[in-house]
């Protein structure tokens, strides 16, 4: 078996909770950090926070990413997907846990070592417009990571920039444009090129196509797949769009309120979801076929509860399969078949 490129163990990240509902206006930006605006489902978190005093954005998460693999991370907004990504690149510091990259622990890296790590692990942020400097042209945007990492080691920087532009199928004349002069697809290509600049081995793609139209989405998916095999990279794809996951990922982790609820191969996960939450998620997908009869499973209410505090299942109050036992049985990820783990005691106990 191949050594995992990335190994994450017991990752936990909590955020200080707002003191009261009315004063938590900046919660979304606090949870999201400064890098971008997130669509945190504030309400659910707030209400939970009032009860508990702390938000467990990521709660004891374990996973591996194999070298050359594309791993998907899906779940609704506010479930902790982006927080995981930020912890993995040390953009924010987790409370506890361990992250290894190429067998090296990265959580205590600093200075030169951290910089060297970041050269290998890059991220494409969710909203390209928000993560591009409006006063930088495409050329300057692409030159920035090269300047920071003092690249290329030999050869000209301009030549490298042209290579990057070419790799993402932009044209030379895009170099002098500012972000507002680019279309949505072109902006996305620019941020992808920027992430590629340091020649990384590992790329985190946070909702890489959420700002795009359906047709532009396909082009970006194809580009990303092409780049992956061309430059021999490993991807973590974060999305709530199952069609993106389906077309890109080998394996998928489904997250709900900071925890992994199901891990499986992509096709199996989509076609035969086992965790009640995954089932509800899949049944809500809009399928472009008027003859398709949706087996709609409705979850009750909104995300209101606290992430599993260890003693109960975090989905219990919304779950269509929940029984009394669920509210006092801890939720543990258990292997139920080859390549499939589910965090539901009813599934692993063979009850459903």
């Amino acid at each position: 078996m191949t050594e995992p490129l990335v190994a994450v163990k017991d990752l936990t990240k909590t955020f200080e909770a707002p003191t009261a509902v009315g004063t938590s206006t900046s919660l979304a930006s606090r949870v999201g950090g400064f890098l971008e605006q997130t669509n945190v489902e504030e309400t659910g978190i707030e209400e939970a926070a009032v009860k508990e005093g702390v938000i467990r954005a990521v709660d004891d998460l374990d996973f591996n990413i194999l070298d050359g693999e594309i791993l998907g991370l899906v779940g609704e907004s506010g479930c902790g997907k982006s927080t995981v990504a930020r912890c993995m690149l040390r953009l924010i510091e987790p409370d506890r846990g361990e992250i290894r990259f190429d067998a090296r622990p990265i959580l205590d890296l600093n200075g030169k070592d951290l910089k060297a790590f970041r050269q290998q692990a890059q991220m494409v942020f969710q909203d390209p417009m928000a993560s591009l400097n409006p006063r930088f042209t495409v050329e300057k945007t692409l030159a920035e990571p090269l300047r920071v990492h003092n690249l290329p080691v030999n050869g000209s920087r301009k030549k490298r920039i042209l290579e990057l532009v070419d790799a993402v199928h932009l044209r030379k004349d895009h170099l002098n444009r500012y972000p507002h002069q680019l279309s949505g697809g072109e902006r996305q290509r620019t941020v992808i090129a920027r992430a590629l600049a340091t020649n990384p081995r590992f790329l985190i793609l946070d909702e890489p196509t959420s700002a795009l139209d359906a047709s532009a989405r396909v082009r970006i998916i194809k580009l990303l797949l092409e780049l992956k095999s061309r430059f021999d990279m490993t991807y973590l794809v974060i999305s709530h769009d199952i069609s993106i996951i389906r077309h890109m990922c080998d394996r998928v982790i489904v997250m709900y309120l900071g925890r992994a609820v199901e891990v499986a191969r992509t096709a199996e996960l989509i076609e035969t979801p086992r965790h009640p939450y995954t089932q509800a998620l899949m049944s809500a997908l809009p399928i472009p076929d008027p003859d398709y009869e949706s087996p709609r499973i409705r979850l009750r209410g909104e995300v209101m509860d606290m992430p599993g505090t260890g003693s109960r299942c975090s989905l219990a109050s919304r779950c269509h399969m929940a029984i009394e036992e669920c509210s006092h049985t801890p939720q543990e990820l258990a292997q139920i078949e080859e390549n499939r783990w589910v965090a539901c005691h009813r599934v692993s106990g063979g009850q459903i």
Partner: protein, 328 residues
Amino acid sequence: MMVDNNGKLLELQNLSICLDTQRGKVDVVDRINFTVPRGVSVGLVGESGSGKSMTALAVMQLLPKAASIAGGRILFQGEDLTAKNDDEMQKVRGFKISLIFQTSKTALNPLMRVGDQIARVYVQRLGLSKKDAWEKTVELLGAVGIAQPDRRARSFPHHLSGGMAQRVMIGMMLACNPRLLIADEPTTGLDVTTEAQILDLIRDMRAEQGITLMLITHDLGLVAANCEQVGVMHAGHIVEYSPVRALFYDPKHPYTRMFLSSIPRPDRAELSESSMVGQAPDPYHLPTEGCRFISRCPERMERCSQPVPWVKVDEEHQVFCHLYQEAA
């Protein structure tokens, strides 16, 4: 659903919308004809920039300053909305036609409690007392599926999740009991489970109150599940209008075919090879008379630069394309 011939709730006749920009004038909507029959839910689909939202704004007479109606009529219950002045339109907006936007959170006033915003509709438009209006508001929030409506009514918009904000918008829309609801990308940016809940809500409200829906979206999955008839827009033209099943199983226009085959689908493992060819045409250099899809069309012919005919495939299915015209 049976549709009687005169049951046209909304009819766009030869509607053109012109956008006056620094780079010149653009016909963002060019002589479109489109009918929304009473009681039928109609979808309007297309890529961004195809003119869908402009069409919706024109119906409400809420076009941005740079845009204007350059020709044609908008008939609602037989009356031409383009001939109405602003005071007259105020009696249509909300009361007869409601529009809900994509960004419900920015459409709500951030400085007012959501309950006050809805109650104001009751006070100003229906003349209720403040106390009655508040009671109606709480009742309404409950009806659109908001838990603890009396508490939520006192929340500010930033306290709400995207799904809740959209429920509030739908509640506000229902307050005046309109005949037509225009929903412009009502679920973009929401999670799929929330999206499904919002569409369930719209469906329930349609059934209960007999509201006709015009759904504007680029998501064909939503159209398949929620619409009975569909118009496909491309670069300011409606290129195909058909019952929903025919659109998916027997699409006629080359653009519709390309659009259908280009979307990534969660229920299919493969990406289609024939993803959209090229970019949408440059709005500043559109062909004046002929088909606007010409530069991307795999089936283009000589006569495609001539004025395009509306061809009836059958009673309910029409296509805006030379391909189907009998050789003259």
